[in-house]
């Protein structure tokens, strides 16, 4: 938007300014309160559902996804957060591209849409995380055992900043970063790179020790300034498992 056009700005210009210009930063507190309320609402509805029907219909999607072997979720709450994230991710990717067209220093420097798997992952790892959280993610790597699987390391997910269950809780380990996992999945799927993204708390991870050990080695070198005590428990790995057809297409394209 040039300064001259501000004088006779149309409604369309106004709408463009309002929605497509990169926003100012949102207060962390506002986000945290809103997110906290979302989680509590989900927990309440979950409780109500399990009260009304013990074998509840609500648990079905979780069982299905667990059965497919691509996703293991600790509980229903994580699944619901993940479901919430997906539509946001789908819209977010589109929005970031449109903002880029506005030329306001948006998500991707070139302004083109990413179609390649690796460049898309780099975009998420760098620019998208920057646009969302003000900093890039803490690492992107390919899994050693499975080349269709990638991992993004996030040392302090914004959703886990204040979330803490305390010592003796019945909920066990719940990771609110499932929401961000859903967001990433939404973004990838809207770019037709179908994938299943799951959030795992770092530390209680036994499987895939090779890749994880590598991640810690890198991390200790970097030494984040954020509180060490808080970071240690909330470090999250987003495991991105691409669908077979995506992998096949990717290899054919090379």
């Amino acid at each position: 938007m040039k300064k001259g056009s501000a004088m006779n700005a149309t409604l369309a210009d106004f709408a463009f300014e309002r929605t497509l210009k990169p926003r100012q930063e949102v207060s962390l507190s506002s986000f945290s309160f809103l997110f906290s309320e979302i989680v509590q609402q989900l927990m309440k509805s979950e409780k109500a559902a399990s009260y009304h029907a013990h074998s509840g219909a609500l648990t079905d999607p979780m069982l299905q996804s667990a059965g497919s072997g691509t996703c293991h979720l600790n509980n229903d709450l994580e699944h619901q957060l993940y479901q919430l994230g997906i539509p946001i991710g789908e819209k977010l990717l589109e929005l970031l591209f449109y903002r880029e067209k506005g030329g306001q220093g948006g998500a991707c420097s070139s302004g083109k849409r990413e179609t390649k798997l690796v460049s898309m992952l780099h975009l998420i790892n760098g620019s998208v995380f920057k646009a969302l959280f003000g900093r890039p993610a803490d690492g992107l790597e390919q899994s050693i055992e499975d080349e269709d699987e990638y991992r993004i390391l996030d040392r302090s997910p914004i959703t886990n900043k204040f979330a803490n269950l305390g010592k003796n809780s019945q909920l066990g380990q719940t990771n609110c970063a499932a929401f961000i996992a859903g967001l990433i999945e939404g973004m990838l799927c809207s770019a037709k790179l179908y994938a299943k993204v799951t959030a795992h708390l770092y530390g209680d991870e036994e499987a895939g020790a090779g890749g994880d050990a590598q991640a810690t080695a890198e991390g200790e070198g970097a030494e984040t300034p954020a509180g060490a005590g808080a970071g240690a428990t909330s470090t999250t790995i987003y495991v991105i498992k691409f669908a077979k057809e995506v992998a096949v297409r990717e290899r054919a394209g090379q």
């Binding site: 997110f35 989680v39 979330a163 803490n164 010592k167 719940t174 808080a230």
Partner: protein, 149 residues
């Protein structure tokens, strides 16, 4: 010497958090609950018997903006030869009570820090149920940091 103990009492007068800072001080769990609810009732009574108390808070913890201009109600401070008790009530009725040595100077600052920690790690914690005991490790950690335990 220094600070002795912290209590956080919720709107209904039940104890949601307590921490003994001086290790030599021993409290049975039942005692802390009883003390907290007794203080809560005394606080309520004292605000009833001084209904015309219109003292306006000048500032809190050295920052003039924070809570300045609000009416002080109930018990704000108890000073004895052996200890000083300061109570700070938030807008939602949560009481933060800090008991310290009479010589201690930084009580206001500590109360403000506790309030900040509460706002961060209790209010914004999705897993914290309203008016239930505080079990967050992050909150525990920041309290430890405030008092250098």
């Amino acid at each position: 010497m220094g600070h002795l103990a912290i209590f956080i009492v919720n709107q209904n007068g039940s104890l949601v958090y307590h921490k003994v800072i001086t290790p030599s001080l021993k409290f049975a769990t039942n005692d802390t609950i009883r003390l907290a609810s007794t203080f809560h009732s005394m606080h309520a009574i004292s605000s009833q018997i001084t209904p015309n108390c219109q003292d306006i808070r000048a500032g809190f913890g050295g920052s003039p903006g924070f809570l300045a201009g609000t009416v002080m109600e109930g018990i704000n401070e108890i000073v004895t030869d052996n200890f000083t008790l300061k109570c700070f009530q938030s807008f939602t009725g949560v009481k933060f009570i800090l008991v310290s040595d009479p010589q201690q100077k930084d009580m206001d600052y500590c109360l403000k820090s506790i309030y900040e920690a509460y706002a961060d790690h209790v209010s914004k914690n999705p897993f914290q149920e309203a008016e239930m005991p505080i079990r967050s490790d992050l909150f525990e950690g920041s309290i430890t940091k405030i008092f250098n335990l």
